[in-house]
């Protein structure tokens, strides 16, 4: 089945109040073309589940984010996402802050259609205090150990970005870390994948080792060719992070005029105009 579509067609699935899963990690291989499309669409009251980076930051800054579920929110070279920091300090954001490993187990539980997965992580820490919805579970075996039952992180729609894909939705991550994009797809009712380049299945299979084929076509409902679709985050080996634009973006958290100018230039424009604006 040919699942090719545009970013805007994919984002049409998203309605106000939905829970969105966003792949990548920090400021690495984030599906930014989808994030920009969410901004253009203007959907509100979103919950985002993410190993967060500028996806969460931008949606904080545009006021579209009601709630963030995260293991961290970082720009990597800038350890704390500044727009997220601002939203938290203003009390403008509902937050579910989890240990990074708990977050992974929540994704896995959702992917496996389980209510929870158990872990030792979180016990004794204030993660349980700030998340009163978290429960513990006692091992039914002889050890009787008490563990945290990390609830499934189910999402309505997931967005991921890959290096390559074919038209039917097989996706390839050519960087050295696959992150957890396959789990985001499986935790979602529907998942959409953008990629740097759509190629034939033959080219896809010969374009890297088999273990780079992280996404199979069962996992995704739509495929979008979006060159530069992770920009300004890194999408190795296709391109590194655009540190200059990231710094410019980060600085706008301290200056509303700068943010409005950034938004007008880079977000309230079509994806093609964005790519023109950032091309060297």
């Amino acid at each position: 089945m040919d699942k090719r579509m545009t970013v805007d067609e994919a984002v049409a699935e998203v309605a106000d109040g939905m829970t969105i899963g966003i792949g990548g990690w920090g400021s690495r291989r984030k599906p930014m073309a989808f994030v920009r499309a969410l901004v253009r669409k203007g959907v509100k009251d979103l919950t985002v589940v993410s190993y967060g980076g500028p996806d969460i930051g931008i949606l904080c800054a545009t006021g579209q984010l009601k709630k963030a579920v995260y293991g961290f929110v970082s720009l990597d070279s800038i350890p704390l996402e500044p727009h997220f920091r601002k939203a938290r300090q203003n009390g403008a954001l509902e937050a579910v802050e989890l240990d990074e490993g708990m977050f992974l187990l929540g994704l896995r539980a959702a992917a496996q259609r389980l209510p929870f997965l158990p872990t030792r992580a979180g016990l004794g820490s204030d993660v349980l205090k700030i998340n009163p919805h978290l429960r513990t579970v006692k091992s039914p075996y002889e050890d009787g150990e008490e563990l945290v039952a990390v609830p499934a992180l189910n999402v309505d729609v997931a967005f991921i970005h890959m290096n390559r894909a074919d038209a039917s939705g097989n996706g390839q991550a050519l960087g050295r870390d696959p992150y957890f994009d396959n789990l985001f797809c499986m935790a979602a009712k529907k998942a959409y994948m953008s990629c740097e380049k759509i190629v034939s299945t033959d080219e896809l299979v010969s374009g890297g080792p088999l273990q780079s084929l992280l996404i199979n076509r069962m996992m995704v409902s739509g495929v979008v060719e979006a060159p530069g679709g992770a920009h300004f985050t890194e999408c190795l080996p296709d391109y590194p992070r655009d540190e200059k634009l990231q710094r410019e973006y980060a600085a706008t958290a301290k200056d509303d005029n700068a943010w409005n100018a950034f938004r007008a230039k880079y977000l309230d424009v079509t994806e093609a105009d964005y790519q023109n604006a950032v091309s060297p």
Partner: protein, 254 residues
């Protein structure tokens, strides 16, 4: 000062390296400049079996200078984030993290200052600290030892300390160990009957009163305090090789 002479930063780096002594064949994750340097010193000298990454996803067979990108010949394995989580739950890991705040039992905060619901200052968030501390050995590095960092009560427990671990009971806390805290003033551990923080040694030139004045709680002070060992000329030479730009020298204030 002569380049060959050991500085306070070098003393700290050696004290950090000593945290990993006898760790053997486990993964060390050292967050920040001085921890990275200290862990590399340990691997280069007395703990060659340690596994360490490039900070991303490559396991490296030798300790490279800070800021040096690995070549293919430096790689011995693959450690993407999925494998990092598996390793930390497996327990074959010793992490050294920073601490924006740490208390007498080793409860650590990197999450926020003020109420979590609406923090006065949002910091990094809990990151992996809850899972790290309950699953494997953890040490801490405090580059600026003062009463804002070493506090009576942390604003939010990210990394679990000994009182919290004890309250969980011996079964749940059996993998919990806060091995040591190294600051710019001294070395500290929790080898006391009630597992409160104790002074192990003071760095050369540091007076006990200076440490007491800069700590927001009562430290256990044993008789006959040691002085933190100063790196040998050979260790100083290795430290200069591992940190040619002197990043650690800028981090540690004398």
């Amino acid at each position: 000062m002569s380049r060959d002479q050991a500085t306070r930063a070098d003393v700290c780096a050696l004290a950090i390296a000593e945290c990993f002594r006898d760790d053997g064949e486990i993964m060390v994750s050292a967050m920040g400049t001085s921890p990275s340097l200290g862990a590399r010193l340990a691997k280069s000298t007395f703990e060659p079996d340690l596994l360490m990454t490039d900070g991303f996803n490559l396991l490296l067979r030798r300790a490279l200078p800070l800021g040096t990108a690995p070549s293919d010949q430096d790689v011995e394995g693959w450690m993407p984030f999925g494998a990092v989580f598996d390793t930390l739950w497996w327990g074959r890991r010793h992490v050294m993290m920073g601490a924006s705040q740490i208390d007498r039992f080793g409860n650590q905060n990197i999450a926020c200052i003020g109420r979590w619901e609406q923090p006065k200052a949002q910091l990094l968030g809990v990151r992996g600290a809850p899972g790290n501390t309950i699953n494997h050995v953890t040490s801490y590095w405090v580059p600026n030892h003062n009463v804002r960092a070493l506090v009576a009560k942390v604003d939010m427990v990210s990394g679990v300390g000994y009182d919290r671990a004890a309250a969980l009971g011996p079964k749940t806390s059996r993998f919990h160990e806060i091995r040591r805290v190294v600051s710019n003033l001294g070395v500290f551990d929790f080898n006391t009957p009630d597992q409160r923080m104790r002074v192990v040694s003071l760095h050369p030139g540091v007076e006990l009163q200076q440490v007491i004045d800069n700590t927001g709680f009562e430290l256990v002070v044993p008789d006959g305090l040691d002085t933190t060992p100063v790196p040998t000329p050979e260790q100083v030479r290795i430290l200069r090789e591992l940190d040619p730009q002197g990043y650690a020298q800028k981090e540690v204030v004398e």
